[in-house]
């Protein structure tokens, strides 16, 4: 059974600081997704990582994937208050040419303080 673990579960950080969220998963996969969820809202896609060594960046967020270590990271650079949300990683373990069900991590609740 695929297990996806995120840490930390909760992160309080000051504006302007850097931090990294970690996502470990238990089985082979080369398809990993990061989503953002604001309170009371649905999930918004941030990044799609499809191969070993993949790195994607958008604004102050950068995601990477190491399939050999079964690890993805979401790095936050110079955090701003607007980044406050819950971040989920999700793994599609099926592989192949069609999408399949996602197994989600526990989520990391990020709070950026002034």
């Amino acid at each position: 059974e695929l297990k996806v673990e995120q840490n930390p579960l909760f992160l309080s950080m000051q504006e302007g600081k850097n931090y990294t969220i970690y996502c470990n998963y238990s089985t082979t996969s080369d398809r990993l997704y990061w989503y953002r969820q604001d309170p009371g809202k649905s999930l918004e896609s941030l990044f799609v990582l499809l191969s070993n060594g993949a790195v994607k960046q958008e604004g102050r967020l950068m995601a990477s994937l190491d399939t050999k270590a079964r690890l993805s990271t979401l790095h936050i650079t110079a955090a701003v208050h607007d980044l406050s949300a819950t971040y989920f990683c999700a793994v599609d373990a099926q592989g192949g040419g069609t999408a399949s069900k996602l197994t989600f991590g526990t989520g990391t609740r990020l709070q950026v303080t002034l």
């Binding site: 398809r31 997704y33 989503y35 809202k41 649905s42 999930l43 918004e44 896609s45 799609v48 499809l50 989920f88 999700a90 599609d92 099926q94 592989g95 192949g96 040419g97 069609t98 999408a99 399949s100 069900k101 996602l102 197994t103 989600f104 526990t106 989520g107």
Partner: protein, 114 residues
């Protein structure tokens, strides 16, 4: 363009009643997924439909849960004889053909069982 549409947005019902939740995916998306999100269990996969293939029902928690997808488009998730532990937000997602695109999520149906 229109996103994934779910209805109702909120549903309150008494224990033992049946409920139907509806999902209208993004036009052209061949895959449709149901997940649920609750405080105790996080985000859990329930069922997914891919084109004309048999659905993957491996995440349905009991035989009280069923889903159908008519005409390859709209889907209905039915919960019979609801129990208090069914209270959760039920999220629907869809994705286009191929395995390299993220799933797009609707706003969810918040189900409360009294």
């Amino acid at each position: 363009g229109a996103g994934v549409s779910q209805s109702p947005s909120n549903k309150v019902t008494e224990k033992g009643k049946d409920v139907e939740l509806r999902c209208d995916p993004i036009s052209g998306h061949t895959a449709l997924y149901w997940y649920r999100q609750s405080l105790g269990q996080g985000l859990e996969f329930l069922i997914y439909f891919q084109g004309n293939s048999a659905p993957d029902k491996s995440g349905l928690p009991s035989d009280r849960f069923s889903a159908e997808r008519t005409g390859g488009s709209v889907s209905t998730l039915t919960i019979q004889r609801t129990q208090q532990e069914d209270s959760a937000v039920y999220l629907c997602a869809s994705s286009p053909p191929g395995g390299n695109q993220p799933q797009h999520f609707g706003d969810g149906t918040r189900l409360s069982i009294l």
